[in-house]
Amino acid sequence: NAGVTQTPKFRILKIGQSMTLQCTQDMNHNYMYWYRQDPGMGLKLIYYSVGAGITDKGEVPNGYNVSRSTTEDFPLRLELAAPSQTSVYFCASRSNYGYTFGSGTRLTVV
């Protein structure tokens, strides 16, 4: 009963570095989402996917890329990290019964 698993939990990146935030769900949900939360702000949608092979941009997609090769995995890629990408990142999946969020990845870009 893992739900939505995000790795890593914490990461410090230098400006210009790249990394992939991993997200895996074991509930066979078709819908998956990536959100970011900045201090004092609500969560903002970066990218979402309605099924394997199908992704689309959310509200704040610039600087990020995603892929969805399987139902279970929805990784988020940062190619050239910038200080503005310092945030907490949440992955979520959805069924007809509601949303399940991961516990988040806290990313700092210095």
Partner: protein, 117 residues
């Protein structure tokens, strides 16, 4: 352009009393509203939701009220307990132009609720 707003950054309530958290929205296309609770270092957890065809939904100590004409919803917690202390997010979703909803959520900024024993 903040489509969902929670204008109170924080709320402090005594244990046993009522907590009322408010949320305003501007997008008249929103048709589904949710409240989430978030503890530090954890992801948001679902609390309660309401469809735009209803004006009230109740689940135990939690009741959500929706006033569509005012574009306002509120979450009532009665009685409040110290374990309710957390950040509460209001969220809303709207169908796409084709009428389907991909479940994309627009969140408010959150309200920090502190319930004192």
């Amino acid at each position: 352009d903040q489509q969902v707003k929670q204008n109170s950054p924080s709320l402090s309530v005594q244990e046993g009393r009522i907590s009322i958290l408010n949320c305003d929205y501007t997008n008249s296309m929103f048709d589904y509203f949710l409240w989430y609770k978030k503890y530090p270092a954890e992801g948001p957890t679902f609390l309660i939701s309401i469809s735009s065809i209803k004006d009230k939904n109740e689940d135990g100590r939690f009741t959500v009220f929706l006033n569509k004409s005012a574009k306002h919803l509120s979450l009532h917690i009665v009685p409040s307990q110290p374990g309710d202390s957390a950040v509460y997010f209001c969220a809303a979703s709207a169908p796409n132009a084709g009428g389907t909803s991909y479940g994309k959520l627009t969140f408010g900024q959150g309200t920090i609720l502190t319930v004192h024993p």
